[in-house]
Amino acid sequence: MTDSALQKEQALIEGLKARNDQSYQEAVRTYTSGMLAVARFYLDHSSSEEIVQDCWVTVIDAIQKFEGRSGLKTWLHRIVANRCKNRLRSARREVSTDFSEALEPELADRFNAKGRWDLPPKLQFHDSADTLMENGALSDCLDKHLSALPETQRSALMLYEAHQHKSDDVCNILDVSASNLRVLLHRARQKIFLMVENFQETGEC
């Protein structure tokens, strides 16, 4: 960070400590998108927004103890990550994934008794991921289905991608074994696959 950027951040921190309205408005506009991106590693869209809102209220008191050992942005991101992890820990007890079953029932039903496809995938998802996501309806549908996933399946999926497939990190955060992580990931991916397939065939979510 340049000297002037550092001074600007220091002035902003002083303003936050002094509970200055305008400083909060400035900080909210500068840092909220980044905080939201961090939350999205862990949670679905609406839970992420909720967490980020709560974090800003927390900041009003917590900033008094901010000593500047890290930058303001890093400090804010850490608050978000900790809150998300707490949320996941409490949610984990509620979620039950049958770890002995690697296939989604809806997919398992598409094979015959010999283990061959009865109902194979009909369409190929030809377009690139970016092109597909430009389709607003598909993007909304994906949001809806992500929200409906059990929280540990969703976080396994998002964290695994966000942490560049470092399984150890994800197992630590979610407190699951490596083999159970594989099941969570696979179950979540199948659900997303089934959703996209249905959307492509019917145009409906």
Partner: protein, 88 residues
């Protein structure tokens, strides 16, 4: 011999390169002969890519407005947030 359903069970492990060498080879052999499974693996992979393209966070004006309101209220009330946590 590896059947389509067996392949569906280990599809994510294959995509992530987590399969032992021999199993990985039998998946590759199966995929060479089976168009349906090639489509399945391709689509499963595309679904994951789609998720990555989708998950970047961008705060919209509505969220910023909600935060402004809550922060203003908390500042006025001299907030003592009961859930306050020291992030360090």
């Amino acid at each position: 011999m590896l059947m389509c359903k067996d392949l569906a069970v280990i599809a994510s492990d294959y995509i992530d390169g987590e399969l032992p060498v021999l199993e990985n080879m039998s998946v590759k052999m199966h995929l060479m002969m089976c168009k349906d499974c090639r489509t399945f693996i391709g689509n499963l992979r595309a679904s994951t890519d789609m998720l990555n393209a989708h998950s970047s966070g961008q705060a919209d004006e509505e969220l910023i407005r909600k935060i402004d309101e809550r922060v203003a209220l908390a500042l006025k009330e001299g907030s003592q947030d009961p859930t306050n946590q020291d992030p360090d």
